[in-house]
Symmetry: C2
Subunit: 120 residues, 2 copies
Amino acid sequence: MNREECAACEQLCEHPHIICSAKQQLPDDAAIRNLSELFKLVGDPTRLKILTLLQSHELCVCDIAAALSMGQSAISHQLRLLRGARLVKFRKEGKSAWYSLDDEHVLRLILHGLEHVQHD
Amino acid sequence: MNREECAACEQLCEHPHIICSAKQQLPDDAAIRNLSELFKLVGDPTRLKILTLLQSHELCVCDIAAALSMGQSAISHQLRLLRGARLVKFRKEGKSAWYSLDDEHVLRLILHGLEHVQHD
DNA sequence: CCAACATATGAATATATGTTCATATATAGG
DNA sequence: CCTATATATGAACATATATTCATATGTTGG
């Protein structure tokens, strides 16, 4: 246990031991930031639907918009966020942009969460 | 493939087949809502830290606040959200409230996400 | 009963976020 | 070239959200 880290605890509350041992379980700041950003991205109904739509075929923007009955612009904005986090990738073909999942990891995460939601 | 569902597609865009087959992969609305709420809850740095803090010991509110260097009120508000989604439970003992994870599922989901974040 | 303490909660505030609208860019067809 | 189409993007707006402050509730010890 780190002495300096505990110094603050002892003045502020009653269980410095517990606090310090719990703190060691915390991932570092970068991991927390990245992880919460990942979950936040998947934590929006529109983006969640986009990702599950893409689970087997690539789709172009207008197809996604039509499938979700939403405007093209809204979808495009969300795709930008997903692209930025490398959750989706795309290829251009003529006027169209075909989007697909960038790795299967995310889909597994979603399916994992789905089990959780459907089981309880 | 559902005829009625496809009717709209055919007027609006170019690939009705793809759209309709992609749509079938979508979980129902309730699942999407629950799933995105779950991910949204975990998609906040403070709540993510709270949940990982709790992964092995129960903790009282002031310990969590001290461990995260945050105000008691902020933690209490977040715990309420986590409680509402049954991600944490608590027991009262005298003046203190001891919080713990309500099931291990969530923790596994978080660790799963952590792999994703740390691997790329 | 009173003071000290732990927690909960409502109101207020600042910030983040999702969608829409208008428009820009780029490509294909005539 | 000019038009139609697909996509991207900036600005604006409405809504959601996280934290803080003040305060309420409930418990313990004197």
